[in-house]
């Protein structure tokens, strides 16, 4: 059996890639994908820990996270489409009418 540490390290790497993606990339869709990566890194860690503890609560939590992520996709894509309609761009650097 693969030790749980490996899963946790993998999830930490995925999480870090997600955070970096949000901070570095300027395309709203890619930022959004990076956020999904962060959530899925957390899912991986939760499932790995859950299998060590041998309880179902971890797996149940993951289902909740997946469902919430789906709800966020619905809202997020709608917002991005709206922005694209009025700005013809989803580059977050160009979406900068509000300043101060």
């Amino acid at each position: 059996m693969v030790p749980v540490d490996y899963y946790v390290i993998l999830s930490a790497i995925l999480f870090a890639i997600g955070v970096l993606g949000v901070l570095i990339r300027r395309n709203a869709l890619i930022i959004f994908m990076s956020i999904e990566l962060m959530l899925n890194a957390a899912n991986l860690a939760i499932v790995a820990f859950g299998s060590v503890i041998e309880s179902f609560s971890g797996q149940i939590f993951v289902f909740f996270v997946i469902a919430v992520a789906a709800a966020e996709v619905a809202i997020g894509l709608a917002l991005i489409v709206e922005i694209f309609k009025s700005k013809r761009s989803i580059d977050v650097d160009q979406v900068s009418g509000l300043k101060g």
Partner: protein
């Protein structure tokens, strides 16, 4: 699952059923009569508020320890529901005027309130996460509610991206805590944490959870979204989210840290100290340079998050913690009342197409609309913390609690930043009373009622602070 489980979350359950029913009922309400939807939403909030108040004195856990009902949750639920009612009152005329009157507004507002109430009741990290999302997702939509208006869309997108980013931190933090404590229940985490020495995994998880909440309450350095989201969103939405979401964020932060992470206080106190000081300083200093009233109030709300965070700093010191957290809860009332009032005045002065939002647009307000100018002055003075207003009482309680906890420097920073804040708050008052201008003001019954009543409360409640403070203190019995 028993009946007693459901009565634990009765006000939330009532509101949830009401909101779903309202979503359907709204289909049958003609477009030009959406005021009916507003009335129904307010009725639902009022019924839920009635049940919340009938629960006073009740204390128990429900759903296998997933949700808690105690003085703390009842106190905050009542406050959140009042914010919901005020949110409906402010939106009623505003939406019509801005041509964005759609029934979903009120339904989303109800859903967001449900999430906020669940955050105050959550006794399990899973519920904390779900409630946070239930609070946030409707707010993302509400921020972009004036769609086709680019700044509203921009506000929605920014709020959404950073909100989702922060929930990523929160979930990863919960994952690490789950790995360290082998449970997500707050009381069980406390038991696991005090049984052994604090594992680095738990501390790291708690730090990530703090980052997640830091975004929600708009603490510096997690505040970047706040000015843009508050400025771009329709003003009625801003009023609602700057109060309700912040109260809920503090509620969950408080319950999670006091219940589950009290063994971590050694590590966390310094972090909270830094966050609080930084938030007060940065919020107040950047607010000085603002010329847009919405943006100024956004920075003011960031600064106030710093003041409220101050109350959390001594949370690990059992002797001071009850008083200091009660002072924090008290300040939440102060903040909700004053902040909503100020936004009410902003809504009264705002005109279509984003006009009437510069601070210079308040020139001459006192001459033509003395009552409105007087109300705005009361709110500004209360936000600074001058007498004779609620703001002064709130700050006195806060500073006293922090000094009792031995954090004198933090209290000094608090006082100094309050003095700095006088500069930009009084600029609005000076504009209203000493400059000439012809501001166009919207008079409408519910709007006038809201700012009028809140201005009265800001002064009146400052005369009977002990009663309120006793209520805030009693709200903490179960936590400590």
């Amino acid at each position: 699952m028993t009946l007693s489980d459901f009565t634990t979350i009765l006000p939330v359950a009532i509101l949830a059923v009401w909101a779903c029913a309202l979503l359907v009922a709204d289909l049958f309400i003609p477009k030009d009569r959406k005021g009916v939807t507003a009335l129904l939403a307010a009725l639902g909030l009022a019924i839920s508020l009635g049940y919340t108040l009938s629960q006073i004195g009740d204390e128990r856990l429900g759903f296998s320890g997933m949700v808690a009902l105690d003085g703390f949750s009842i106190f905050l639920n009542a406050l959140i529901l009042v914010c919901g009612l005020l949110g409906v009152a402010l939106a009623y005329d505003y939406l019509k005027r801005m041509n964005i009157e759609r029934g979903e507004y009120y339904v989303l507002l109800l859903f967001s309130s449900i999430g906020a109430m669940l955050m105050a009741q959550a006794a399990d990290l899973i519920i904390v996460f779900l409630a946070l999302e239930l609070l946030s997702i409707p707010l993302y939509v509400l921020s972009a509610f004036a769609r086709s208006n680019v700044s509203s869309e921009e506000a929605g997108l920014k709020y959404f991206l950073l909100g989702a980013f922060s929930s990523g931190f929160l979930v990863y933090g919960i994952a690490l805590i789950f790995g360290a404590a082998h449970t997500t229940n707050l009381y069980a985490i406390l038991a696991a944490a005090s049984a052994s020495t604090v594992s680095p995994l738990l501390a790291f998880g708690a730090a990530l959870v703090l980052i997640g909440f830091g975004f929600k309450i708009a603490a510096v350095p997690f505040h970047m979204w706040t000015p843009d989201a508050y400025q771009g969103a329709p003003t009625a939405v801003t009023a609602f989210m700057s109060s309700s979401a912040k109260i809920a964020g503090f509620a969950a932060l408080l319950r999670v840290f006091v219940t589950a992470f009290s063994p971590l206080a050694v590590n966390m106190t310094d972090v909270l100290w830094g966050l609080s000081a930084l938030t007060m300083v940065v919020g107040n200093i950047i607010a000085i340079t603002q010329t847009d009233i919405k943006r100024m109030l956004a920075y003011s709300s960031i600064a106030h998050a710093g003041y409220i965070l101050m109350a959390f700093v001594p949370y690990g010191n059992a002797a001071v913690a009850p008083v200091s957290v009660a002072a924090g809860l008290f300040y939440l009332i102060v903040y909700a009342v004053t902040n909503f009032g100020a936004w009410g005045v902003v809504i009264a002065v705002e005109r279509t197409e984003g006009k009437g939002l510069a601070i210079s647009d308040y020139s001459g307000l006192a001459k033509n609309h003395p009552a409105l100018a007087a109300a705005m002055s009361i709110f500004m003075v209360s936000l600074i913390g001058f007498p004779p207003t609620l703001g002064l009482v709130g700050k006195v309680y806060l500073f006293r609690a922090v000094i009792d906890g031995g954090f004198v420097v933090l209290a000094v920073i608090g006082v100094l930043t309050s003095i700095i804040s006088a500069f930009y708050y009084l600029r609005v008052v000076v504009n209203m009373y000493m400059r000439d201008g012809e501001p166009a003001v919207r008079r409408e019954f519910w709007l006038d009622f809201t700012w009028g009543a809140l201005a009265f409360l800001t002064v009146f409640l400052s005369l009977i602070p002990q009663t309120l403070f006793a209520w805030a203190s009693s709200a903490l019995m179960k936590l400590f």
